[in-house]
Amino acid sequence: MIQPASPDLISVNIDGKEIAVPKGTNVIEAAHRVGTDVPHYCYHPKLSVVGNCRMCLVETGMPALDPATKAPIMDPVTGKQRINWSPRPAIGCATSVMPGLHVRTTTPMVKDCREGVMEFLLINHPLDCPICDQAGECKLQEQAAGYGRGYSRFIEQKNVKPKRTQLGPRVTLDDERCILCSRCIRFCKEVAKDDVLGFIDRGSYSTLTCFPGRKLENNYSLNTVDICPVGALTSTDFRFKMRVWFLKQTNSIDTESSVGANTVVWSREGTVYRVTPRQNDAVNDTWMSDSGRALFKEIRSEGRLDTVRVNGAQSPIEFAAGTAAGLLAKGGVAVVGSGRSSVEEQYLTGRLAKALGAGAWLVSRAGQGDGLLISADGNPNVRGALVTGLVSALPSARLDELAARIDSGSVRTVVSIGEDLLAAGLSQAQLAKVAVVYLGTHTNPTASAAKVVIPTLTVFEKSGTFVNQQFRIQKFAKAVPGVAGAADDLAALAALLSAVGAPSVAPDLASVWASIARDVPSLATMAYDNIPDTGLLLDSTPWSGLPFAEGASLHFKPAPKEAPARG
């Protein structure tokens, strides 16, 4: 036996392969590390273990010891210590590793167990894969192909259960497909802390349902759809829309708050169909909010800007940039950047402000966090603006200082990066006193009043990075092409920079990052391509004194407030 390298590691043997794993690891996870698949349904690494599906049955054994002397009993044939194999199979999910544990996953007994469980799971399953949304990402389908017998001996009537129960506003349940693994029940209870699901009736007639008078309507309800190993729980929005194997997957980030949940955007031919969470154990585990999944609807929503306009008239972007440059050249400029812009955009916005000698502000989106995956800061990237030096203080909800400068006449032109200045506390009169250059995705009163409007892209249509509440820089990638008529944010900002005669930069990520690496010391060693999919933690000490809005949430604890000095 290989001695474990560290005292906290335990050596186990899986199908003849020795591996040292941390104490408390179960057999499924240990087997995964040696590349052995132990099929399972009910087990989920982020939920409690119930052991009800019985798919992960494996053979276990311990090295034989002489009962009297406790000396190892050797096998004369192999020369190794004999293994006492248990006559009963054990479930991998609830079997924790112990020193010397031996596991076999390929024996006839294990094969027979898996074939038996697969057959049982399928006898009352409707086998309606051709019309099932889960097809293509269905554990039942995959494991039936991988571990089932491939034929059925069942000639009786299948059980009949409700086919389309609306568990809540976003989740539809097909009870006949349900294999009663209870993942969804455990998720609601343990993660969402909204215990609304349960089984009624018993035996094979057991049926998943909501408690009387309750609905599955918490903001995390769609996670039950993600973890459902079969097609029982489906997203009411995505149901019957598209086959998953046609969809392209693009890594992205949830922009609804500074948590920065990692996501996957599923798209086809320029259309986004759904957004699902992507596992990041340091940020969002395998979860995300329902509200974050609906954000892709903004791509095609009412009010999307798709025309470059100068004084209300459609115009080419070069002309718009020139007009803007004319306004900016007069001086008295203020820049209202955005906590929703990417790090790259904030960097270029900062360069623009610097070139113009203009003051720069952000608008805060402080609100209520839910303690889980939505923080109290509705801006996904305030920390990016701090890191790139666009601003040095936390934003406030109202632009009172800017308002005062407008009133005094010292600010006569405002560049707004998607922010509505009225919503940020300016009055109609103040807005009317300034010329606005607006870069944004959607219309609002500021855009309507702007002299120059350059439509830009949503997070789904471009690539970039955000810095979340942990000061973790995370990247997102372009899932779909931008709407016709919209300009890439970096290109628009670069055009403005060159129009005002400042040193510009080629509007591609690599070039912008080359500049960032040169100008921003804390990002000096980075490039977009080098940032791992799960992000990189930045040094947050320069900003540790700032009173950030976030409270505790999953995997995040705010820095302790400075203790008052003893006096």
Binding site: V49, V50, G51, N52, C53, R54, M55, L57, P87, R88, P89, I91, A94, D112, C113, E115, G116, V117, E119, F120, L121, I123, N124, R153, F154, E156, Q157, N159, I179, L180, G198, F199, D201, R202, G203, S204, Y205, S206
Partner: protein
Amino acid sequence: MAAPEQFRLIFRHIDEPGYSNDLACYVRNGGYEVLKKAVLRKPEELIDEVKKSGLRGRGGAGFSCGFKWTLVDRKSGKPIYLVVNADESEPGTFKDRYIVHRDPHQLIEGIMITCFANKVERAYIYIRGEFPEGARILEKAIAEARAANFAGPNILGTGYGCEIYVHRGAGAYICGEETGLIESLEGKRPYPRIKPPYFPAVLGLYQCPTIVNNVETLCHVKHIVERGGDAYSKIGTPNNTGTRIFCVSGHVQRPGYYEFEVGKLTMGQLLNDVCGGPLAGRKFKAVIPGGSSAKVLKFGERYKGKRKVGAEMVDYDWGVEDIPMDFDSMAMIGSMGGSGGVIVMDDSVNMVEALANINAFYSHESCGQCTPCREGSLWMKKITSRMVHGDARAEDGALLKSVADQIAGRTICAFGEACAWPTQSFVTKFGDEFKAYPQAKKQPRPDGVPDLI
């Protein structure tokens, strides 16, 4: 050889004319004297008596009671609970009901001694939902015992207190499984827990160490403490001590409950001498020895092997009639003593139809938590009811056996075995009858055999 006399220990007063289930009658007959003496002894001594007695659990598994008590985690600092399993639901078993109905104070005395011995301050009697009368009787008996200071705070002036609560089930067989029972008692669906880690002795009721004992087992505790563990262990046979109540039902002249020393009586003596043999003109065909989940025994079968008598191994060659009615012999021949429910079937019974009945029960009672039992039990029921009421196929027997083989040993609790063993044993032992059933169905039903409904 004639059958020995009944040895009525637990059922001593059952059927006794004039014996009622109130406290006065119990005390008149020497009741609570054992408790009075027990509370003056050290708890550890009482546990030792039970260990010495060799008492094995009477609920079905026959697990050593004293050993179960030693497994209890006494160092955790958490309270220890006693849960009395009165969820007597195994078809063919009706012993606990008589104890509860006719002699509830015997149970309460056993509970109080057990609680005192294990430093338990709260005991729950989980009684099956179908026993409303039993629950009322227990409530009344507990109130009487409390009023007389045999239960409740400061028992008999010792400073030790223990409350007993009655909890009624809602009609589910699975609540007889100890961890399912605990879940139910906690107010949840009675899904049995996975073991490890949820052994009741460590993580039982409310995640505290818990002792779960059957009603009859706890009554034995009283008699063990009364007689002393060593004296009690002389009743019965080695490793199968004490007495056993047999609940005989089915095709015998005198069905009913009979209490004998464990192992001193054979199946043949029980059925022929005690119960008066088969009904007129019939012959015994099969018997289920320990509640409907035990494997069936076929008359005419021979059971051969070696067994330990004293220190020696001796050959045995038994027919069904020769099998001693004890835990070890029943296990040796491939069945189990179980709950003591002896179900007798004579030659009027078609085994396919009998199995259809058993399968209907188990498919209805499967809790539905884990896959093999949930799906397998209903599938077996669908097969047997199709055989009986629809188209039977010659290959159905083999299919049934194969389905049952996919259940046993692969489930969270012992229900998997309970629902698989009848099918496995019926098909193995009466396979010809399953093969011939398609033809047998077409024949007119034998005289005296009820129509199928």
